[in-house]
Amino acid sequence: MRQPLLFLVNINKYFGDVHVLRDVSFTIEQGEFLTLLGPSGCGKTTLLRCIAGLEHVHSGDILLNGSSIKGIAPNKRNVNTVFQNYALFPHLNVYDNIAYGPRVKKLMKEAELKDRVSKVLDLVQMLGYEKRMPHQLSGGQRQRIAIARALINEPSILLLDEPLGALDLKLRKHMQTELAQLQRKTGTTFVYVTHDQEEALNMSDRIVVMDQGQVQQLGSPREIYNNPSNLFVTTFIGDRNMIRVKVLDVGEASTRVQFGEDVVEVRNSKRHHMVAGEEALLAIHMDKMRVSCGEVPNALRGEVLSVHYAGSQIRIQIQVADKVITAVEYQKTDCDCEAGDSVYVVWEEHGAILLPLEDSGVEGEV
């Protein structure tokens, strides 16, 4: 069990009349990789800036190591930020950029500083680049220098504001692995902001899903992916088919629901309790679905509309009753179907979840 490091207590924040953070409360644990995930405008970056001290909070409190840092200026907080555009000082070379923090705080002699700079440069695999100017570096290299510049201060928490956003896809994937390794190697607590769920699911120990200034769910990537707490998280994480079904009866471990003429069993979730006779939403991850040519139990019957080959994956669109369902398969196995074929659609147990019909705009979406 990790020690709690930073407490966010009922944080509220306004920009003019806009309520950008609403009663945000959670705890960040020592040494974890925590990701704030949400669509743009959900308040995740603002929350990060509140922790950094670059924005002030209107109400609530932030406790670091047990004491409030709410009124403390950013230069007096033991947290450092890796900015979205890296914000490397363009007139200083790599060495002077990294040495900036210790120098302004007058922490050490130049000889000691040199060792420290070398150490963090080694950590981000950029030794030998000391004399380069920021404009002579590639995006990925700038990124590493920005991280080194923050890490040399040995912050209690390293805040990263969408640091991979400006990189191309290949480099982004590579940096994801590297960031996660770096976090484990240094043991520093990382708080990482992104709108990219794949990034979040890949790197994080825990994820905070945010929307409209509120925390929607906090949990491990697996928990968030398989057991979304509400409709927002369900639609935001992963690509799912959302099907409106009728609840027939609710059992110990599973619930029987009806869609069109088919009746299927869906595992019960810890959070949501269905009531027999009412309508509910069946949400199934597209990539957890399988298309079968022969009859199988617990399946929906449908007709193939189209088959798309998109690189490593195959997307199959199937008409089931009045609804078009998309299944994503990574290799074609038992059933080589074409448009017009009758098929059976099944899914892995954990890929499906039943949600109550919430009143907020569900009609339009489903």
Binding site: G53, N80, H91, Y100, K105
Partner: protein
């Protein structure tokens, strides 16, 4: 074909520059090698005499006076203008427009009139002296007019908007996240200003300095009115040679010499601002 098309598109601007800048410059350049008769009429006879006079020791003093005035004008406008520009750039959008408007407002009034305004302020029976006398701070009027310093006040006042706008632009362009990064890394406001803001706005200061230095070198009415002609500057000299001296070839030679000085200043500027992609002259 492509380059030809592009060249044709450039023709109007080349004609424009040629007519308004090139031809007069060539005219001045040719004139500087010609002679004149005793009545001041140009005689088409090649001579280097004008340049011999330009580089004679008597006029060296005039060059030094002008360079000193232009340099000090640049320095004064920089010291006074930087805080104004810095504060303006950090105002809210509305207040900033107001501030810029107020800075530019004097341009709506003839600069000659504004120079007379300074005479009213600084004269022996001017407003400043009257106020000081009235308050009993001084016994007899301070003699503030017709000095080198008076000319300096005049030129600095005339040209400071250029300095302010140039610095304002570079402060305004400054990436805010760099300042945030500096605070984030532990620097206080003073350290952030001297380590980040100031070095990154040097190109703006250099641009402002160039914009102030060049006109200050050639201004003549300010030193005529406020300086009383006690110190002779290049501008006065050229003006006098054209009007009272009736020696346009000599005036042309001085003008060419001044253009050379200006070119030196610009080349220094472009070296200072070489990293700044939005330079004044590029």
């Amino acid at each position: 074909m492509q380059t030809l098309k592009r060249n044709i598109l450039a023709v109007p601007i080349l004609v424009w520059i040629g007519l308004l800048v090139g031809i007069p410059l060539i005219f001045v350049f040719v004139l500087s090698f010609l002679s004149r008769d005793s009545l001041g009429t140009i005689v088409f006879q090649f001579t280097l005499q004008n340049y011999q006079r330009v580089f004679s020791p008597i006029y060296l003093r005039v060059f030094l006076n002008s360079l000193l005035l232009a340099f000090l004008t640049g320095l004064v406008t920089m010291i006074v203008g930087y805080p104004v520009a810095y504060i303006t750039a950090n105002l809210s959008t509305k207040k900033r427009a107001l501030s810029i408007g107020l800075i530019m407002l004097p341009f709506w009034i003839s600069s000659l009139l504004r120079t007379y305004g300074w005479m009213i302020l600084l004269g022996n029976s001017g407003i400043v002296n009257n106020v000081f006398l009235g308050l009993g701070l001084i016994d007899r009027p301070l003699s503030m007019m017709y000095k080198f310093g008076t000319t300096l006040i005049g030129t600095a006042y005339m040209l400071i908007p250029f300095m302010i706008v140039a610095i304002f632009n570079s402060v305004d362009k400054l990436d805010r996240s760099l300042l945030e990064a500096s605070y984030d890394l532990g620097a206080n406001k003073r350290q952030t200003f001297f380590n980040i803001t100031l070095p990154l706005t040097i190109p703006g200061v250099a641009g402002g300095f160039t914009l102030v230095f060049i006109p200050a070198l050639g201004m003549f009415y300010v030193s005529d009115l406020l300086g009383g002609g006690n110190t002779i500057f290049l501008g006065n000299l050229i003006n006098t040679q054209v009007t009272r001296g009736r020696n346009r070839p000599l005036a042309a030679a001085f003008s060419v010499a001044m253009i050379l000085v200006v070119l030196v200043v610009i080349s220094v500027y472009s070296r200072v601002a070489k990293d700044d992609r939005e330079g004044l002259f590029l």
